[in-house]
Symmetry: D2
Subunit: 356 residues, 4 copies
Amino acid sequence: MRFYSDNNATVCPELLAAIVEANAAPTRGYGDDRWTQGLDRAFGRFFDAPVATFPVTTGTAANALAIATVVPPWGAVYAHEESHVVRDECGAPEFFGAGLRLVSLAGAGAKLDAQTLARALDAMPPSVHTVQPTAVTITQATELGRVYRPGEIAALTALAHERGLLVHMDGARLANALVALGCEPGDITARAGVDVLSFGATKNGGLAAEAVVFFRPELARDFELRRKRAGHLLSKARYASAQLLAYVEGDVWRRNAAHANRGAREIGAACGAALLEPVEANEVFARLGEDGKAQLRALGFEFYDWGANGSGEARFVVSWDQDLSQVEALSRAIRALPASRGTETALHRPRRSETQ
Amino acid sequence: MRFYSDNNATVCPELLAAIVEANAAPTRGYGDDRWTQGLDRAFGRFFDAPVATFPVTTGTAANALAIATVVPPWGAVYAHEESHVVRDECGAPEFFGAGLRLVSLAGAGAKLDAQTLARALDAMPPSVHTVQPTAVTITQATELGRVYRPGEIAALTALAHERGLLVHMDGARLANALVALGCEPGDITARAGVDVLSFGATKNGGLAAEAVVFFRPELARDFELRRKRAGHLLSKARYASAQLLAYVEGDVWRRNAAHANRGAREIGAACGAALLEPVEANEVFARLGEDGKAQLRALGFEFYDWGANGSGEARFVVSWDQDLSQVEALSRAIRALPASRGTETALHRPRRSETQ
Amino acid sequence: MRFYSDNNATVCPELLAAIVEANAAPTRGYGDDRWTQGLDRAFGRFFDAPVATFPVTTGTAANALAIATVVPPWGAVYAHEESHVVRDECGAPEFFGAGLRLVSLAGAGAKLDAQTLARALDAMPPSVHTVQPTAVTITQATELGRVYRPGEIAALTALAHERGLLVHMDGARLANALVALGCEPGDITARAGVDVLSFGATKNGGLAAEAVVFFRPELARDFELRRKRAGHLLSKARYASAQLLAYVEGDVWRRNAAHANRGAREIGAACGAALLEPVEANEVFARLGEDGKAQLRALGFEFYDWGANGSGEARFVVSWDQDLSQVEALSRAIRALPASRGTETALHRPRRSETQ
Amino acid sequence: MRFYSDNNATVCPELLAAIVEANAAPTRGYGDDRWTQGLDRAFGRFFDAPVATFPVTTGTAANALAIATVVPPWGAVYAHEESHVVRDECGAPEFFGAGLRLVSLAGAGAKLDAQTLARALDAMPPSVHTVQPTAVTITQATELGRVYRPGEIAALTALAHERGLLVHMDGARLANALVALGCEPGDITARAGVDVLSFGATKNGGLAAEAVVFFRPELARDFELRRKRAGHLLSKARYASAQLLAYVEGDVWRRNAAHANRGAREIGAACGAALLEPVEANEVFARLGEDGKAQLRALGFEFYDWGANGSGEARFVVSWDQDLSQVEALSRAIRALPASRGTETALHRPRRSETQ
């Protein structure tokens, strides 16, 4: 029973059907097809804002291309120290950005707040000798399964814009955040001041279907050249675009995310006081003790260790296609664990990075 | 009736079935799945050589990652002036290679020969002031639809190795070349001295399914980091890998390429003296005159202009899924064109680069 | 009276004489001259170790070239958050390193210690998803005027090597550290396990005379190509090399640094309890209050603000050519300041970065 | 008797005096000194145009920084195949330009002409798949000692601007060209449409004194960050700037170049029919036969081989400080050579690249 990651999940029927439907006949390559050409309209409607939308195949590509497009090589990008761009992309932003710098900041729940950003900006007034503060990137939902409220995002983007920074959002799990908040897509993106978004569908039922969405389309000027140059312009782009259309035009994104979030909440409830973070999206972080984790694994549950060696911490991710019986079984098993759990706190929390 | 490019084609049934089959259940991400893990064995058998095989989604990514892995930033890579890496990748090799240099060479049929390479190497003896000759890249089949014979490749690789250069092959249309030659895959790759190959399946029936194949696996050491860093490590890698397995383990590659080559031969025969290049793979280049091209288009045939404006040249590409009736119709229409055709020769041949 | 920075200083007579002497007759370019050819022997003797020595014109070039030579683009380099590479080089290491990552660590006196490094390494076990820990860089003397003891360096290099990391030292003020410690040059470099050194002479009396010194000469393989490619191979290299020879072959480095250190000690003594850091080299950091600083400036003393706005902190740097009467005057003026000084501690300490 | 290269020359008295004069007292670093601050005015007067002027230490840095500032990573820069940027900079433009592409063009005398550029631009109409034509770079005087006339430059820049390209000039030997033409500095730069210039003084009597001069100062926006990031912002910039001022404010540039050109003319006259190129600046290219070259060397003349092995070709460069008796001796020795000289023409002309 797999709780490793939502990227272990299958492709959902609607998106697979979209692939098959796009396969009915030959069509022009490199995005000059009706699916890709329809993305701006569909995503514009989804976000209730004018957008420039570009399909890519991975979240890392989306993040790195989006960031590099709006940040010069000498730019500094403020990011949470637990973020995917910092921890799990082997330096992709630096590669795409020709040596730009990620500046790591701390924050509870893997969230940045405006105050922390302000302090960091104050701490290094730019001159010709320094990297130039240019952007901030936040993740929604975060790497600790937490969700930014619209007001939190707006506070960050207001500060960022005031200081001349652009705002990127890594939305690898945007649907999970939307479902958690019960708000409109535009509430946490365009209307909250986000400038460019990595829009993820892969973890939530897609087959290598991600997009970069510019809410200030004029920022996208160089994007197409960057994407081509990075080998991320698909000759048969329609298969990604068709999925993205099916994902946002119907209820797929919501239904899939709601299912995963519900499962995570159930597991979270079972964890009780062992929870490390409130469960808001589809991830559960808990300190179950090394013995507890071993017992779960003996029962056939698969999941990642979290935190430092011996911390007794675990991460469970619920996927769109997770069988509810598995969720129930895991919840029961967690409840059945003896109460005493590892208590050591790992100040410096290493974790396996294959987990995203 | 579309003769634009084989990247306009659909995904063939066997590869689509492989995707569906790989979708049966969740599995580990990032290539830690049985399909991806099986690639080395399957490709090793296909090429009759030990290999390290890595799936990627585009030919540009395959080329640029392969080249960058074996060439330092100060390296020079010798390539044909008509090659995809030179003309159609928006500088991807330079991007992935942190500023390496492509050195363009001429050659009939978009083929390099050993003599030309030798002269180019002699012409710039390396010192600390120069870029350092490091690799040569050839395309099989070439951008003009021509095919290197095993001996031609061996002569090039022998010279290259003697001079300390590695050899990369862009095999976006490798299957078409193999069918044209009627030889074993290893005859024009591993046994001919090729060090690293971009293996294409997308144009011949795949859905974003390409691979980088190292015939000297020790060269692949940094490849995985480079791929991740470039956003080309797929979290759901199995869908690409399953296609690649289905492609090489059965007869799919051969059947699809044979169909396309046959169609091209038929159209080539219809072109007669108007042919610009012998038809060896699935592409036809002919000088039909501007009037002739207009007549064909009036009949509903779609294809790219070739050569300079007003050169009267055209490119037809036949795809794996091309209806034979379309091939016959085009052949008839070409034969019916009046004999007089544009005769001006374009020394400097611009072409639309969207055509690959 | 200038206490801004030792890079405001003049060129000392011996090094100017070396330039004039090297100007006697034409000679071969690009380092193929007797001065440049003699560097390895002279520096080998200076450090009592086999070395490969390369002149460059700036400390930033020395640092960035040295680091990029031993760290791949996907490598992580651990550095103090106050270090020049992090704060004052506009991302030069990332540029030369094709997007490598600097990981900032804290530490008193702008010094790294082995424990901090160990924790940072433990906190991010490398996988294909992460940047790869490759090097650590330390500054001697540090950006806060502190000096690593030989044992401290040895502890760091032992840990680094055990973990597979190389060690770079930024020795922009190496002479000041050597004088402070009263030890042999090899004691804090080659024999302490340093792999590659940025050797500075500019701040201590040179005219754009710095060097990269490899203590493991085999690491220098690509260095010459990197340097040329970065525009840092001087055609008239002899003028830099002649200075470097004059600097290390005689007593110039020691005399100049001793003079500067002595001045700083005197000013430090005057600061008394206001000192932020013990004075070990030629820099003094003190909290004199905003009023105190204003009074000093009214008397004609020029120096940089330090710390956050309103922190009342100041930095004074004494140069090799500083008139002792200026040092005495400043010391007197500081002693004459009223006792009460700003006490607010700035947790996040911005500083002007033009100060190095 | 050295005729290797003008970079073998010494520093001329006036520029050495300028260094000494700038050394009289400490001053602010990083160009915040009166010499560096005076460059724009002095160069503005020299070129009779508004300029933004930045000192650097090498011609390679000047070229690469200038080009990278005006060309994006996906840009193509058209350059002569014999140019320094193509042949002698180890890929510096590609490094500074994050992977931009140099496109090599042919042309007699190492000169580009507008027609050749137009054909090259026509041959590759840009799309998202191609590198984007962005700039052209020309060398004045050229690597074959030839000089562009003002009208030739104007024709090139007019075409370039019409096509949306910017124009860079490598003026490593600009003074030699100016003396050869007897025109005003602005005639072949600002008024001829050049956008950015690498201004060389090192070969003509300077000590690591070059400058980047923007004739459209708004292009310089990012230049300062690029320069710092490349380690080319000198902390003691005044020593380069003082030289540059002394060079352009007086007659130094003209006197030094006139001396060198005169010597070259004399040697050229001695070569007679053996000349490969008309002598216009301070370089002489002649086919003297392998025997002839051996005889000259036996007499103590030092110079570079040119052309292919065995071509019998030689390059002589006359420096600002060349003793006239050496020029006369060489001329006599050449006239005394037997008439029969190697006649083989090397189509592909390798040459030692250390020669610039």
